[in-house]
């Protein structure tokens, strides 16, 4: 069944969209990742213009993260104070990201920028994930426990404007969380990702937040920052396709439920190797598109 997407202005098979949403949903259910970093390049592959893919994916992530954030709110595993600081940083980052986006769109370079960002990001994530999962497979075989320091002092503790974060039990400067939020905001605006894959490790290793509030707080930030990003893309570029977002989300919701159930039954390390290979594969395809001479050297854009 072909459906006409009003903003992307292309006809796509509705089942293909549901399937893509479902596939990425399964993966996010299995691994607890947002999936924006996989969905956006998959949308390029099915012919959605990259600017529409990025803006629409930001919109879709609002829906996905609202679900997750609500669950964490009920379990009281969100540090609201820290979340607000991260959101403030994120809003500045997203506003800056949109400026870059619009400038490069006018220069005709936005597609290339988005692709380069994805090659870099997926390359790093895929490689790290592969090493990490191979190492943990070895570790489970060797059965040697690894000890981690519970609390450690680093450069973060030397910065001014300190604030007490009750839920996380921290007394640190607001500068690092503002910076982390801003970086995530820039990524959201340019790449249409939630940024959890960067925020979560940054919260643990840079801010030193306790693991139990990390996921909830990151989802809290993602809800507001992707909502703001959606609003910016809608006003600056008119590239948010609510019909596309809706189909992807329906697929993703069902997929996530299936994924959570599969994830419980299968060994996590082996699944992570699979995800890592998938990420590297998508990265390689995008890289080849940039590196190999395209069959058609000319591209046309309607309007000036």
């Amino acid at each position: 069944m072909q459906i006409y997407l009003p903003i992307a202005e292309v006809s796509v098979n509705a089942f293909l969209l549901l399937g893509l949403g479902g596939l990425v949903g399964i993966l996010s259910g299995m691994f607890g990742v947002g999936g924006g970093f996989l969905m956006t390049p998959l949308l390029f592959f099915i012919g959605i213009p990259p600017p529409v893919a990025v803006a629409t994916e930001a919109n879709q992530i609002v829906a996905a993260s609202v679900s997750g954030a609500l669950a964490h709110l009920r379990k009281k595993t969100i540090d609201i104070q820290m979340g607000i600081i991260l959101v403030i940083g994120g809003i500045f980052g997203a506003a800056l990201g949109i400026q870059i986006f619009v400038a490069l769109k006018e220069a005709g370079q936005i597609d290339t920028l988005i692709r380069i960002c994805y090659v870099a990001l997926l390359g790093v994530i895929g490689t790290l994930m592969l090493f990490e999962s191979v190492r943990s497979i070895r570790r489970t075989h060797q059965k040697t426990p690894v000890r981690r320091k519970l609390h450690h002092h680093n450069w973060v503790h030397g910065l001014p404007f300190k604030m007490k974060f009750r839920a996380s039990g921290l007394y640190i400067s607001v500068i690092p969380p503002l910076m982390v939020g801003a970086v995530v905001g820039i990524l959201a605006a340019i790449m249409g990702v939630g940024g959890g894959f960067i925020m979560v490790p940054a919260m643990i290793y840079i801010l030193g937040m306790p693991t139990k509030v990390v996921i909830g707080t990151s989802l809290f930030q993602i809800v507001f920052v992707t909502a703001f990003t959606t609003l910016l893309h809608a006003t600056a570029n008119q590239t948010v396709d609510i019909a596309l977002a809706f189909f992807l989300f329906i697929g993703a919701v069902v997929g996530a439920q299936i994924g959570t159930r599969i994830g419980v039954k299968l060994p996590a390390e082996h699944l992570r190797v699979f995800l890592a290979i998938l990420v590297i594969g998508v990265c390689a395809k995008l890289a080849l598109e940039l590196l190999l001479q395209p069959a058609e050297l000319y591209v046309i854009d309607r309007g000036h």
Binding site: I7, V62, A63, S67, L70, G108, L231, A234, T235, A243
Partner: protein, 254 residues
């Protein structure tokens, strides 16, 4: 000094010429004058037909019928990729002032046989003549290749179509053809023009307008997004938040 007979001869010729030119007229019609793009719009067929009206028996010169359908004209930016630091990026750019979003030329025989080059230039019938290049000078030396690329890409996408020999003519009077409009049609006013030629010269033409418009939810979404982007953005966020909340509420029970 000219003789009165020559003057008279020239006068008679002048009087006769318009009569000769107007002796055949074209009357055309379309199977539809409005096309609605809905969510599941998958292209459309349009039937263009008509007759050649004349008072005298048909002349001996070769008859030709050319039917064109042109979509709304709009500016287009054509970019060329080149390798920079190992990757293919857009470099040179040429802005084309106006090009039709869709253009189809159907004819009763190959255009070279039924249309003179001069007439073609005058009436702008071939696809190449529909592209209006920009008045502002570009620093790109081979700007022509950019318009060629535009035609090539749109031909490949089925937006520019030339179908010689698809207009059927019966007894030098009735004619008809079918033009396929693709799924990726742009809304706006389309012009269907029918030309009749004798020995490569256009004798008469008639224009008809087709309105292509979006209907239903898609149209509403498109208009809202472009006319009230802030409201649209807020709506997009609200829809996402509500669906997200609903999904979590539903799956908590399962």
């Amino acid at each position: 000094m000219r003789s009165p007979r020559t003057v008279l001869g020239v006068l008679i010729l002048f009087l006769l010429t318009p009569m000769v030119a107007a002796k055949e007229e074209v009357v055309s019609a379309l199977s539809q004058y409005r096309i609605a793009i809905t969510a599941n719009f998958d292209g459309s067929e349009i039937f263009v037909y008509g007759a050649i009206k004349r008072e005298q028996p048909p002349p001996d010169e070769r008859l030709g019928v050319v039917i064109t359908i042109a979509g709304p004209h709009e500016p287009v930016t054509v970019r060329r990729k080149a390798r920079r630091a190992g990757i293919w990026v857009n470099t040179d750019v040429v802005e084309i002032k106006a090009a039709p979003t869709f253009y189809a030329v159907a004819s009763s025989a190959p255009l070279t046989q039924i249309l003179n080059d001069d007439e073609d230039l005058k009436h702008e019938i071939r696809i190449e003549e529909m592209i209006t290049s920009s008045d502002t000078p570009t620093d790109v030396a081979d700007a022509q290749t950019f318009s060629e690329a535009l035609v090539r890409i749109r031909q490949r996408d089925g937006l520019y179509v030339e179908t010689p020999g698809t207009v059927a003519i019966q007894s030098q009077t009735l004619f008809g053809t079918q033009v396929t409009l693709p799924a990726n049609l742009v809304k706006g006013e389309y012009t269907a023009t029918t030309y009749i030629t004798r020995d490569g010269v256009v004798i008469d033409k008639q224009e008809k307008t087709i309105r292509v418009h979006k209907i239903g939810l898609e149209r509403w979404i498109y208009n809202l997004a472009h006319e009230q982007p802030v409201t649209y953005g807020v709506l997009a966020v609200l829809i996402a938040a509500v669906t997200g909340w609903l999904a979590s509420a539903i799956f908590r029970r399962i």
